[in-house]
Amino acid sequence: MAVLNIVQAVKRALDEEMARDERVVVLGEDVGKRGGVFLATEGLYQKYGPDRVIDTPLAEAAIIGAAVGMAAHGLRPVAEIQFADYVFPGFDQLVSQGAKLRYRSGGQFAAPMVVRMPSGGGVKGGHHHSQSPEAYFTHTAGLKVVVPSTPTDTLGLLKTAIRDDDPVVFMEPKRLYRAIKEEVPDEEFTIPLGKAKVRREGTDLTLIAYGGPTVEAMQAAEELEKVGVSAEVVDLRSLVPWDKEAVLESVAKTGRALVIAEAPRTSSFASEVAATIMEELLDQLLAPVYRVTGFDTPYPYVPDRQYMPTVTRILNFAKKALDY
């Protein structure tokens, strides 16, 4: 088994899918000879040539919009947005064109495409290199939204996203790009969208997370174990579609839940999960469901780490839930 980090997992997924299906093309800024600023497309240009690894002008509306048209015409484009913070110039193309194409055409046309974007903070990038804009996309019918947190999941989910018949926003937690390495099976595999993963089993409290803060959720669970609290960690992996069943099953067992995410709290996907738990499990809850999220400020340059849900913040809310 090869040991891969998340960037290498992205690269392997793209390579395998491009080799498998010649309709798969990659486009974006610097994705060609440079291999992308994070090197997620390194070597693909040399292997597949300029028609399938397309260096685009610096215009996200053109990148995403062209991907929609390519997809409608039969390709399987994978667009790279250099940072999730730069998706906004292409926002209308994703929301008005890509997301609604199948729907507005009555199923005649579709946009099977992936828009990859490194997202989240912790890289000393200030607010324009650190945001987690997933809620804009989970709020848009017609888009799927996937946020992996491990190399294995990145590989399996990205391959599924590329094969999916709908537009998928694939948000890669950039602070984990090289921070986590793990053994990944050499043989080909995919992971279905919409299936959460229980990363750690527990009985007293459920920590629901996705993307970057899954790491802090796991660390918090270890800390809790030291004081005799058994925490279960559920990694959502995919926000649209999301795995309500897995979440409810876990919380029905523990009676307490924290929903942990880096994005600001107001109108967040964490709020959606929390509200659903309370609607469906009210009589089984032992405490309110707390949202442990980034703050409702722009993402600051300083302090870069304390903006995000830290282990301390998770533990403080865990105490609140346990003491309720």
């Binding site: 053109a62 409608a72 064109q97 199948r102 507005r104 055409s105 009555g106 005649q108 579609p241």
Partner: protein, 367 residues
């Protein structure tokens, strides 16, 4: 087919014209169209005009909720329709293109069905009127956000180039659309890629009430192509033959691998912007009358008459035949029946999603 001579110069100050107001052929090359083609161009224009008039009637009858008048745009649209290969090339149209769509063979009953949101609309009544689309004919479903279809049009053209299909994209939009950022991003990308696409501006000089002088400091839309590295043609869009020949040349260039063109067709819209607009507050009746006198249909009738291809009686017979066809199509569309409300949950995604299944149950319990 690579030709070493092209008929038209890009970036002319004066619009390209091939027939004058009296209907004389004034081009410096011989007309190479059959009688049949000339008659088809005429028929397509008349059909588009009558369809536009019928839409006003179904609006008054409450059978539709919105109309985007297209009268005045017929020559441009009939000309473009003749220049592409329907069902092979792809069309990314906008909401004022009924003449163009009818001319390439979009079944008129389906256009009506879209207007009335009945089951015969292949788009399943998902959008407001004047937003057709038909996969069978490679007509990309119209979207309301101005110019937002232009980047996807470029993407489709790049796909054609990559796959070497020999197809061409034609995309249309209004003058106002040329101010949107996405429009510029799209043309720029098309130029960099040498994509096989024709960008067609139907410049009716107004974006709702805003006239072209306020839209741009540039005297001509065609000039903007210069910055993107491809030709821009400034055309009298009320001259159906100029519209056809320039569109044909732009399509031929794209098919030959010579990349994009921008064609600016100067037209005028005789009606208000839409059924929700009152154009009296921003333009004079004298102005509208001035352009009425330049109506592209009588102008082409004069041309045909000089060649013995048209008489007032023939014109009348054609109108009557088209009216009968339209009435039949309208009845067919109407008879298909309303789109049922629960259809709203289909086609959000390719596969079912529990969330939408749950919400569908909420709706069904209310019905």
């Amino acid at each position: 087919m690579i030709k070493d001579t092209w008929k038209f110069q890009p970036f002319t100050e004066e619009p390209i014209r091939l027939i004058d107001e009296e209907g004389n052929w004034i081009a410096d090359f011989p007309l190479d169209l059959s009688e049949e083609t000339l008659k088809k161009l005429y028929r397509d224009m008349v059909r588009g005009r009558l369809l536009d008039e019928r839409y006003q009637i179904i609006l008054r009858q409450g059978k539709t909720s919105f109309v985007a008048p297209s009268s005045g745009h017929e020559a441009t649209q009939a000309g473009m329709a003749q220049a592409i290969r329907p069902g092979f090339d792809w069309l990314f149209p906008y909401y004022r293109d009924k003449t163009l769509l009818a001319a390439i063979g979009y079944p008129v009953e389906m256009l009506y069905a879209q207007m009335m949101a009945t089951r015969l609309d292949p788009n399943k009544g998902r959008q407001m009127p004047e937003h057709p689309g038909l996969k069978e004919l490679n007509v990309y479903t119209v979207a309301s956000p101005i110019a937002s279809h232009v980047p996807p049009a470029v993407g489709a053209a790049i796909s054609m180039k990559i796959q070497g299909t020999g197809q061409v994209v034609l995309t249309t939009f209004g003058d106002g659309a040329t101010s949107e950022g996405d429009w510029h991003a799209a043309l720029n990308f098309a130029g960099a890629q040498g994509a096989p696409i024709v960008f067609a501006a139907e410049n009716n000089r107004y974006a709702i009430s805003v006239n072209f002088e306020k839209q741009s400091g540039s005297p001509r839309i065609a000039d903007k192509a210069h910055a993107y590295g491809f030709p821009g043609y400034h055309v009298d869009g009320m001259d159906v033959l100029a519209s056809y020949y320039v569109a044909r040349e732009a399509v031929e260039r794209a098919r030959a691998g010579l990349g994009p063109s921008l064609v600016e067709f100067l037209v005028y819209r005789y009606g208000p912007h839409s059924s929700a607009d009152d154009d009296r507050v921003y333009r004079s009746r004298e102005e509208v009358e001035f352009w009425r006198k330049k109506d592209p249909i009588p102008r082409f009738e004069r041309f045909l008459e000089k060649r013995g291809l048209w008489t007032p009686e023939e014109g009348e017979r054609l109108r009557e035949a088209i009216k009968a066809e339209l009435l039949e199509a309208e009845a067919k569309a109407e008879a298909a029946g309303e789109v049922p409300p629960e259809w709203m949950f289909d086609d959000v995604y390719a596969t079912p999603y529990w969330l939408l299944e749950e919400q569908k149950q909420i709706l069904l319990s209310e019905l």
